[in-house]
């Protein structure tokens, strides 16, 4: 585990400089006019970033309204009997529900939950595993589809949410085995 961790963190640290160096030097050998071509590509960055603004604003506003209203407490009260039945601790429900909606919101919930129940308790390890193993599905969908102007997202959202749910069950299972 320790060797794996050192290896991966080393890889993360050198990945970007190595990639830039390799791409540019290789291209220069192939007689590509590196600077001119890079500027050409960089121009697209502005367009894409501006294009996602309306999608991002509307998606984040709807999530912010949901969060500020405290509707999550109501939602948790509704699903709690179900999760109690399966044996999932109710303390991690806020995290499971917030994770796909908001990155900063779930970061806050992870910190609060760990402070309340201890970082190395079952609940503490479970919330941090949940945070570490899934992405903010709504944000990713808004940004990625927004960049190419997709309005009909078809089965993307149900797929993302089902995958989040599977990740949640898997986290409960693997943390249970570990601790």
């Amino acid at each position: 585990m320790e060797i794996f961790r050192t290896f991966v963190s080393l890889l993360s640290a050198i990945a970007i400089p190595a990639l830039i160096l390799f791409f540019l030097v290789y291209a220069a050998f192939r007689r590509v006019k590196v600077y001119e071509v890079a500027v050409e590509g960089a121009k697209e960055g502005f367009d894409i970033a501006v294009r996602i603004i309306p999608y991002l604003v509307l998606m984040l506003v709807s999530i912010a309204i949901f969060r500020a209203s405290g509707a999550m407490d109501v939602f948790i009260a509704i699903v709690r009997p179900l999760t109690d039945l399966v044996g999932i601790p109710a303390e991690v429900l806020p995290m499971a529900i917030m994770r796909p909606l908001s990155g900063s919101g779930s970061l806050g919930i992870m910190t609060e939950t760990m402070q309340a129940y201890g970082t190395d308790s079952f609940i503490g390890v479970l919330v941090s595993t949940l945070f570490g193993s899934t992405e903010t599905t709504f944000y990713v969908l808004a940004v990625y589809f927004g960049a190419v102007g997709i309005r009909n997202t078809r089965h993307a959202l149900p797929t993302g949410l089902l995958a989040d749910f599977i990740a949640f069950l898997a986290a409960v299972f693997f943390v249970g085995v570990l601790l």
């Binding site: 309204i65 500020a68 969908l141 190419v148 089965h155 995958a163 989040d164 693997f174």
Partner: protein, 318 residues
């Protein structure tokens, strides 16, 4: 689907806020209009009138129960800056950032910055009578503020992306011109032809997707987004119905959102900061949980693509 959930979040949010506010108004949850009876701690220090003094206010347990309709375990002692006049009247600015009853924090947030709460003081008998501005419709105000604030934040996020996007798209363009992206796509061909059957195996989109997923696995979020957005643009070039997500786009996003995590860097950092004895213990569990999720995500994306309501040939851009 996204339409409905988006609308539902807004409707549920506003209705819940309105419901809570109506409940609080009917209960008078913040004791509006009922004067508070409290003590100024060490009043002898307030000998000079017309000058602010740092002290604290003691709010008796009974008063908390009377105003907040909840049993309180102890008196509340709240740090405050008190400014009195000769007529034994004055103003107290309460600092509610510390360990004070939750309601005071909510009141401070509803009436101003959220850090301080202003009370008008008047001498009465052996103590002081305090009065706050009335507080109402807390949740609806919170919802409004949150919506306006986040609208600004969203633009900041997008603007913040410009620099990093320009850098990576510049580097990517160079790699593409040199033929590197096509070579990369050719190497992973056996996997990608199965995952993305409608994308030609040496299409630049494949290279960008691989770069995105690799960056995500290593926890390099800043590099992952530009690669991912580039991949979406390239996938959209193959799209015959603009505005409709293709099967490949959905499978790619399923891979992206459930992405296999080698190092959950943020979670480990937060655990270390919170004083964990073994912050990195979650590496194994995160890896296994995300691996499971990724396998299911790809399978689910393939299965749902065949469901009637999501089928490609039945989907229009509206």
């Amino acid at each position: 689907m996204l339409n409905h959930i988006w609308l539902a979040l807004i409707v549920i949010g506003i209705l819940t806020a309105a419901g809570r506010d109506i409940h609080e108004v009917s209960q008078n949850s913040y004791g509006n209009g009922i004067p508070w009876m409290l003590q100024i701690e060490s009043p002898q220090t307030i000998s000079v009138y017309g000058e602010a003094v740092e002290t604290s206010l003691r709010v008796p347990r009974r008063q908390l129960q009377l105003h907040f309709h909840e049993t309180a375990a102890a008196d509340a002692v709240i740090p405050a800056r008190v400014n009195l006049t000769h007529a034994r009247e004055g103003v107290a600015v309460l600092d509610v950032t510390g360990d004070v009853p939750q309601q005071f924090k909510i009141m401070a947030e509803a009436l101003g910055s959220g850090e301080t709460l202003t009370a008008r003081l008047r001498h009465r008998g052996s103590g002081w009578e305090a009065e706050f501005d009335p507080v109402s419709l807390v949740y609806l105000k919170k919802v409004t503020n949150a919506a306006f604030d986040i609208a600004g934040v969203a633009v900041q996020i997008a603007i913040g992306l410009i620099g990093i996007m320009a850098l990576w798209l510049g580097v990517m363009k160079v790699a593409e011109k040199a033929g590197l992206i096509t070579s990369l796509a050719r190497i992973v061909r056996p996997i990608t032809v199965r995952l993305f059957p409608d994308v030609p195996a040496d299409h630049p989109a494949v290279g960008s997707m691989i770069m995105n997923i690799s960056a995500n696995m290593l926890g390099l979020g800043n590099a992952a987004t530009p690669f991912g957005l580039k991949a979406m643009e390239e996938l959209d070039e193959l799209n015959t119905k603009k505005g409709v997500a293709t099967d490949s786009m959905v499978t790619f996003l399923a891979l992206n959102t459930s992405c296999i995590t080698l190092i959950p860097a943020t979670a480990i950092a937060v655990r270390a900061a919170a004083g964990s004895s073994d912050p990195a213990i979650i590496i194994g569990t995160s890896f296994l949980a995300s691996l499971t999720a990724t396998i299911f995500a790809v399978t689910i994306s393939k299965l749902l693509a065949r469901v009637k309501m999501f089928r490609w040939d039945r989907s229009e851009a509206e």
